[in-house]
């Protein structure tokens, strides 16, 4: 039965077989970012333009004369993916109006890592959201500047050791909590915000599809484990992403038109220790610090649940 032969499993039946982010890219073994992008482009399809910030993804995907992209792609600089996407979006709108471009719907993606999003690119992102461009901003968050050698970003979590927030005699590593980018994005009153992780491909694909179908700006925050920067074994990438969700370190939720919805509520969350223990960047932490991290995670999780409950009550 040829049909069964083509679609033997559950997952492949639902997912496009086209690889728009090509094999042979130069990502590290077990790269969470490459995995996330591969999945996202399956949801996006070929009628997509990607505006990439400088960073690992840009470097691993475009060493001249090779490219991993099978969709039109542009890289300009580090801090301006959202601004470049703004220009692309405006251009395509006016070119369509003047009959000088395909009339098909084109997904416009601005793509950056956590540094390019939460630090140097935050302003361009904020401006593009405020101006209501019709595009999707995707932050592949690996919680440090991996491309330049694992320096701290504002998305680096409390207690993580990086090359510019190293753990040492006088320091536990990063001392500030992770900047809450999805919430900051949502505070811009944009219609769609979601957190996701490639360890949950179906969830990620569904959210990406929603984001692309949203009129106006949308934001996807994708936790992308980095074996090199987090110092974990390459085969654990997917598992660590899963543990981030199961421990409540990285809750999966959507904020649609300002209303927050938890996608998975972990009644019994695993202790964060389970998540931390695989990662070299947390190896220096003692029981007190781990307890502090547990406290931060708990507090934030409870806050989220409360907000979700409140938002649900508004729907009555």
């Amino acid at each position: 039965m040829p049909q069964e032969k083509q679609h033997p499993g559950f997952i492949p039946r639902l997912i496009s077989p086209r690889e728009l982010f090509a094999e042979g890219n130069r990502g590290c073994q077990g790269c969470g970012e490459a995995l996330a992008i591969r999945q996202i482009l399956k949801a996006a399809g070929p009628d997509t333009i990607v505006c990439s910030a400088t960073g690992c993804v840009e470097i691993i995907s475009s060493p001249y004369p090779e490219t991993a992209w099978r969709v039109p792609w542009i890289h300009v600089a580090f801090e301006n993916a959202a601004a470049v996407a703004s220009g692309v979006e405006a251009a395509i709108k006016i070119l369509k109006k003047r009959g000088r471009y395909h009339d098909r719907k084109i997904n416009i993606i601005a793509l950056a890592g956590d540094g390019g999003t939460a630090d140097i690119g935050l302003q361009a992102l904020s401006g593009a959201f405020e101006r209501r461009h019709d595009f999707t901003y995707i932050c592949t968050d690996n919680e440090a500047y991996m491309n330049t050698g694992i320096q701290r970003s504002s998305a680096t979590p409390y207690g993580a050791s990086t090359t510019t927030s190293p753990a040492g005699k006088e320091s536990i590593g990063q001392t500030t909590p992770k900047k809450d980018m999805p919430m900051i994005a949502a505070a811009h009153d944009i219609p769609y915000v979601a957190t996701c992780c490639p360890s949950y491909p179906m969830d990620l694909l569904a959210k990406a599809a929603k984001a692309f179908n949203t009129e106006g700006p949308s934001y996807l925050h994708v936790l992308s484990p980095c074996p090199t920067g987090w110092r974990h074994e390459s085969h654990l990438t997917v598992e660590i992403g899963r543990l981030a969700v199961e421990t409540g370190v990285f809750p999966l939720y959507e904020i649609i038109e300002g209303r927050l919805k938890m996608n998975v509520v972990m009644e019994k969350r695993k202790p964060v220790k389970e998540y931390l223990k695989h990662q070299g960047r947390f190896r220096h932490l003692g029981p007190d610090e781990i307890e502090e991290i547990q406290r931060i995670v708990d507090e934030k999780y409870v806050r989220l649940l409360r907000r979700a409950e409140f938002d649900r009550s508004l729907e009555r």
Binding site: E4, K5, Q6, P8, G9, F10, I11, P12, I15, P17, E19, L20, F21, A22, E23, G24, N25, R26, G27, C28, Q29, G30, C31, G32, A34, L35, R38, Q39, S61, S62, P63, Y64, P65, E66, T67, A68, W69, R70, V71, P198, S199, P201, P227, E233, S234, H235, L236, T237, V238, E239
Partner: protein, 95 residues
């Protein structure tokens, strides 16, 4: 005799790459020290290994099993680690 490298006139404008997905010619398969091997008797063809491979290095074969594209597989081991049926294991690369 060494190959003659292209001169400046031979490069495209602004080094734009006009061959989409051309990195597929790049052999990242030679990065690996371990390679995945499938046990057909355990595999239920669910496809999870395929969708969680960062390198798109699995492809569906004639019979519905997912074959490893050894030219691109970097040997990260995620597929083996994640397989719920333990149908994939990593074995040392021959040398």
């Amino acid at each position: 005799m060494t190959e003659k490298k292209p001169g400046w006139k031979e490069y495209p404008l602004a080094a734009v790459i006009s061959k989409p997905g051309s990195c597929t010619y790049h052999n990242t398969g030679d990065w690996k020290t371990m390679r995945p091997v499938r046990d057909d008797s355990k595999c239920d063809k669910c496809g999870f290994c395929w969708i969680i491979c960062p390198d798109a290095a699995l492809f569906m074969g004639e019979d519905g099993y997912y074959e490893v594209d050894l030219y691109h597989c970097k040997g990260c081991g995620i597929c083996a680690h994640e397989c719920k049926k333990s149908a994939i294991r990593m074995i040392p690369e021959e040398h």
